[in-house]
């Protein structure tokens, strides 16, 4: 069953791009959207019945496994890709462009689905590159100067990441020679444990981790991120900010830290420090930003920092917080970028100094943006509150008091910069030239409403969710 998550998008990609005229390409957007809906539905309804192995497993020689973290990732991928497609419908002009966009999204989706399921380092790297290539093109999709520049920065830093990861993999292969498959998680972990004092293995995994940090845009590896997010066109930025960098960077880190590296305080210390640095620098960078998407980009860095803070706690509670925040972040950050797309669609700019008072003209965008803002800042009862709460509690229980204080203080700063954004864009005085602004197109509004509904519903129903879903699964991450 599991290979289908990779094979179906690839198959769809091939089918819609068959050289049989424009007929199939016309359908590519709709089919891709259907695919995301199907993926979400499959996960919600049949998650316990999805099994590895079977006939299809013999076709592709990949070790795929499904656990709860994978489920969460796959669900987030489906939701965010769907939102991105809806936004693309409203903002990308022309059938051809839309179909191109859908094709790129399919590649990225196949890659990310694979990442969520893979259990060996080399394939992980391989699909990082697959997703990476799709992202380069997505960032440059608009083909103006800013977009190309953003893409180029990303390529360069991704190159560095690739070199680091490949180098690390090579070292690990050398260390683990003699094994038939030296780079599966279990084998690497064994190598790290058995060797005891083998510096080479640590060097290898360390380099691999650094590659992941670059991909995830953690401080100080984040140089590419603000430019890439803000230069990409609206749907691409939703996709990138919402899920691509999470799937490649943060999810990879969570996987490697929790299942490859034997639990050590040293690694946790690195993760905690990187997380706190990202929280602080990201929030500070966002605070006086005047460009909406750039602000959200810095905010992304900051929120990813929270995920790392949860991960760095090392316990099941921290891991739960990190996973929840990963999912929540995917939802509300996509929502913020959808709102930015709505503003860009109608006003043509996301420069906040030229915006104001749009709340009365774009009520849906206004309200959904407010929900996203409050959820990001961790205001109860929205979903962001619960995940941040769990992370702070986990930090406190782990005696990381300083980090807990940082987490709380900077969620105030988060509220500060997002409310400033809210005021500059949706409240306050409206410049005269914006008097004729209309609400964004239906597909954009629909995606915003769906995302806001998920954020709100998850927050309000969280106690139920915790009771029926999270607590019964005693060990949420069996690999831990």
């Amino acid at each position: 069953m599991l290979p289908l998550f990779v094979l179906v998008p690839l198959a769809l990609l091939m089918i819609v791009n068959l050289p049989v005229g424009q007929f199939l390409r016309r359908w590519s957007w709709g089919l891709t959207l259907l695919l995301t809906i199907a993926q979400a539905a499959a996960l919600i309804c049949f998650a316990p019945h999805l099994k590895a192995g079977g006939f299809l497993a013999t076709l592709i020689p990949l070790t795929l496994e499904l656990d709860n973290l994978s489920c969460v990732m796959l669900l987030a991928i489906a939701i965010v890709v769907g939102a991105s497609l809806l936004v693309a419908r409203g903002t990308v002009s022309g059938m051809k462009q839309l179909s191109n966009f859908a094709s790129l999204v399919l590649i990225a989706m196949a890659g990310m689905n694979a990442l969520a399921l893979l259990r060996d380092l080399f394939s992980l790297w391989l699909f990082f590159e697959v997703v990476g290539v799709a992202s380069f093109v997505l960032i440059a999709f608009r083909r103006d100067r800013g977009a190309l520049e953003g893409a180029f920065t990303y390529i360069i830093l991704s190159g560095v990441a690739t070199v680091l990861m490949l180098g690390g993999l090579a070292i690990l292969m050398l260390v683990g020679r003699g094994e038939s498959s030296p780079l599966t998680f279990a084998n690497v972990q064994a190598a790290l444990q058995i060797s005891g004092g083998l510096t080479a293995a640590r060097l290898g995994i360390g380099m691999f981790l650094c590659g992941l940090l670059i991909k995830g845009g953690l401080v100080p590896f984040h140089g590419w991120l603000p430019g890439a997010y803000s230069a990409a066109n609206a749907p691409a930025s939703v996709l990138l900010a919402g899920i691509v960098t999470k799937a490649t960077g943060v999810y990879g880190l969570m996987r490697v830290v929790s299942s490859v590296i034997p639990p050590t305080p040293g690694v946790n210390a690195v993760v905690l420090f990187a997380g706190a640095a990202a929280v602080v620098i990201g929030a500070l960078g966002a605070l006086y930003q005047s460009e909406m998407k750039r602000l959200f980009a810095y905010s992304s860095i900051s929120q990813v920092g929270y995920i790392l803070l949860g991960l760095g706690c090392g316990g099941p509670l921290g891991m739960l917080g990190a996973t929840l925040h990963l999912f929540n972040h995917a939802i509300f950050k996509s929502l913020l970028f959808v709102n930015a797309a709505a503003v860009e669609q109608r006003v043509g700019t996301t420069d906040m100094t030229r915006l104001g008072g749009l709340g009365s003209k774009m009520p849906w965008t206004n309200v959904t943006s407010l929900i996203a803002t409050l959820s990001t800042a961790g205001v109860p009862p929205l979903s962001g509150f619960w995940s941040k709460l769990i992370i702070v509690v986990a930090l406190w229980q782990g005696a990381h008091y300083g980090y807990a204080v940082v987490a709380i203080l900077f969620s105030l700063v988060t509220l500060g910069y997002l409310l400033l954004m809210q005021r500059k864009v949706f409240f306050g005085e409206m410049p005269a030239e914006l008097a004729n602004t209309r609400e964004a197109s239906p597909s954009v509004v629909i995606s915003a409403v769906v995302l806001a509904g998920i954020t709100f519903g998850m927050g309000v129903l969280f106690p139920l969710l915790l009771k029926t879903f999270l607590l019964p699964v005693k060990s949420i991450f069996p690999l831990q």
Binding site: F152, L157, V160, L164, F221, G266, V267
Partner: protein
């Protein structure tokens, strides 16, 4: 429903209704207030002689149980309060006729009556405090409805009395904690250790209510600003009754004050200072109402002195003086009201020679003034003699202070009577008429009461003062014309004659009754003290507000500092850091790659060194 509850609730409910009433039929509010005051008076007189306890507990909240007790002492105070309320209501009918805020005036009056009844009936300290604070509210209201700008005086009174009520509250809490009950009839604590603090705190609350120094300074201001019957109603009668009632309860029942304890001379000193300082201020006043109001302060000193001796005769004297004072002082305020109503002024410089035009008012004034000065055989004479006797048993200096106070009291009333009613008449006052009957009647009644209580002092001593203080035997002993000491009475008469002589000489020398005390006012040492006191420098309220002002400034500075930390420093810090972060993102690939490589090196080095 229990009659005691009705005594409290009926005036309060009626007061609220009157407060809410709009202009309807003329005189409804007045007659309603009068009716309630009359019914109240009849009820308390009808109950006289009985001992009625009432208790209703609110489940587990023992401390707040509704304990009431009607017994000899409370019945005495209740009758006095009811009587004065009725008389002042009758008087107010014409006095307040053309004034604004009558709904509030009568409403507050009824509320005050209800609260007073409650405070006197209360047998639970917390309940007492509740009604006590209620009176604070009506006090504020009744002053504030005076002439424009009176709210400042009302605020002053509210702050002063409020602060002392806070002392009372602290004292009550301490007392209740030490006694393990708040029921007054069950408390009986020795005066020692923390008990002294608690007792003194409660005494501060009680004496401040009565208007003793240094909590008096709102009274002269209120005399000018508030409607005049209020002065006769609250500071002259109800508040004195309540304050001295509580003081007596504290020293007699709640605490076992013995004459040997140091608290007793302390209270006496406090009383003497109040007598002398206030009477000296009264002597030099040039306004009818202000002069009277200082006496309202001064006379409290005699009561505190008497009760403070902790001797039976002193306590009898103090309590007797309390009711006497309430009579002659309210009478005096009522005559002041008549003069104000008829001439339009109470400035002594503009008055003079109206005694002939207002003979009844003048007669009442003379009787009350003689009573307050302690001229035999009026009621004031007897109570003062008792206090003198008790003071002398402690130390001669207390006695001397009290007699000196008497001398100045007599001197100031000679001056007041001379300046207001005798001497040359201002031509503007030629057409002044006698006050209306409804205003004269209360004055006459009270003046007659002064004579009655003087000539037949066995009536109050045997039936009111004696039983209420539990000293019936001692009271009986001194009732009638049985003076404690003939020598002291003679000395008192000498002092009074001295005052008369002083007045005559002073009036001759300084030209006119108004300036009869000028030689004292401008005497070598006193002159400078008076100058300072006249410029408000001696008002403790001004000092306290100044100190409070410093605290406010300091608090404001702290607040600003905290504000600066949040609004200034934090913003500056985040802004600086934020701009630093932005400035470091130059868009240079090389820089970003460098960061990444340095970071990677750091991570790898750290990991290789730290992992096992």
């Amino acid at each position: 429903m229990n009659i005691l509850l009705l005594l409290i609730l009926v005036p309060i409910v009626a007061g609220v209704l009157v407060l809410l009433s709009r202009k309807t039929i003329p005189h409804t509010r007045e007659s309603a207030t009068m009716l309630i005051a009359l019914v109240n008076l009849i009820a308390v007189i009808a109950l006289f002689g009985q001992d009625l306890p009432y208790s209703h507990s609110w489940g587990p909240f023992k401390a707040f149980s509704l304990d009431l007790r009607y017994y000899s002492f409370s019945s005495f105070i209740l009758i006095a309060a009811a009587g004065f309320t009725l008389l002042v209501t009758i008087y107010s009918w014409r006095f307040m006729q053309d004034r604004a805020h009558r709904s509030q005036y009568y409403g507050y009056m009824l509320l005050s009556l209800g609260f007073t009844n409650g405070a006197v009936l209360a047998d639970n300290l917390i309940l007492l405090l509740f009604f006590w604070e209620g009176l604070l509210g009506t006090l504020f209201g009744m002053i504030a409805i005076g002439r424009p700008g009176a709210w400042k005086t009302a605020m002053k009174a509210f702050i002063i009395v409020g602060v002392t009520d806070l002392c009372l509250m602290l004292g009550i809490i301490l007392t209740g904690t030490m006694a393990h009950t708040f029921k007054m009839s069950e408390i009986s604590l020795p005066v020692q250790g923390l008990g002294i603090t608690a007792m003194l705190l409660m005494c501060v609350g009680a004496t401040a209510k009565a208007g003793a120094m240094p909590f008096h300074s709102w009274i002269p201001d209120a005399a000018v600003d508030a409607p005049l019957p209020f002065m006769a109603f609250m500071p002259a009668s109800l508040e004195k009754l309540l304050g001295i009632y509580l003081l007596t309860r504290i020293t007699l029942n709640l605490y076992k004050l013995s004459p040997d304890s140091w608290v007793s001379p302390a209270l006496m000193t406090f009383g003497c200072i109040t007598i002398l300082a206030a009477v000296m201020m009264a002597l030099v006043q040039k306004d009818f109402k202000r002069l009277l109001s200082y006496h309202a302060v001064s006379q409290v000193g005699y009561m505190i002195l008497g009760v403070g001796t902790a001797l039976p005769i002193g306590i009898i004297g103090g309590v007797f003086h309390m009711v006497n004072h309430a009579m002659y002082k309210s009478c005096l305020f009522l005559t002041a009201g008549s003069v104000e109503k008829q001439t339009g002024t109470t400035d002594l410089a503009k008055l003079g020679g109206i005694g002939r035009l207002m003979p009844i008012t003048f007669t009442c004034f003379i009787i009350a003034a003689m009573a307050i000065s302690g001229v035999p055989p009026l009621n004031g004479f007897w109570s003062k003699e008792f206090v003198y006797d008790a003071a002398l048993s402690h130390h001669v200096i207390f006695y001397l202070a009290a007699v000196l106070g008497s001398f100045f009291t007599a001197a100031s009333f000679l001056k007041l009577g001379h300046a207001a009613f005798l001497g040359k008449r201002d031509p503007a006052n030629d057409n002044v008429k006698e006050a209306p009957v409804s205003m004269l009647a209360p004055m006459i009644l009270i003046a007659a009461g002064c004579i009655l209580f003087g000539l037949w002092n066995a009536l109050p001593l045997n039936h009111l003062v004696g039983p209420s203080t539990g000293l019936a035997a001692e009271a009986q002993e001194h009732a009638g014309f049985h003076l404690p000491s003939l020598l002291l009475a003679t000395l008192t008469c000498v002092a009074l004659l001295g005052a008369l002589a002083n007045h005559i000489i002073g009036a001759r020398a300084n030209g006119g009754g108004l300036h009869a005390a000028d030689h004292i006012q401008y005497a070598p040492v006193l002159g400078s003290i008076y100058k300072k006191a006249q410029t408000d420098g001696a008002d403790p309220y001004n000092f306290a507000t100044r100190v409070a002002g410093y605290f406010c400034t300091a608090g404001w500075a702290c607040d600003k500092a905290v504000d600066w930390v949040y609004d200034g420093f934090t913003v500056w810090l985040t802004r600086t850091l934020s701009f630093a972060v932005r400035a470091s993102h130059t868009g240079s690939y090389a820089l970003y790659v460098l960061w990444a490589l340095v970071g990677a090196a750091a991570v790898v080095i750290y990991l290789t060194r730290i992992m096992p």
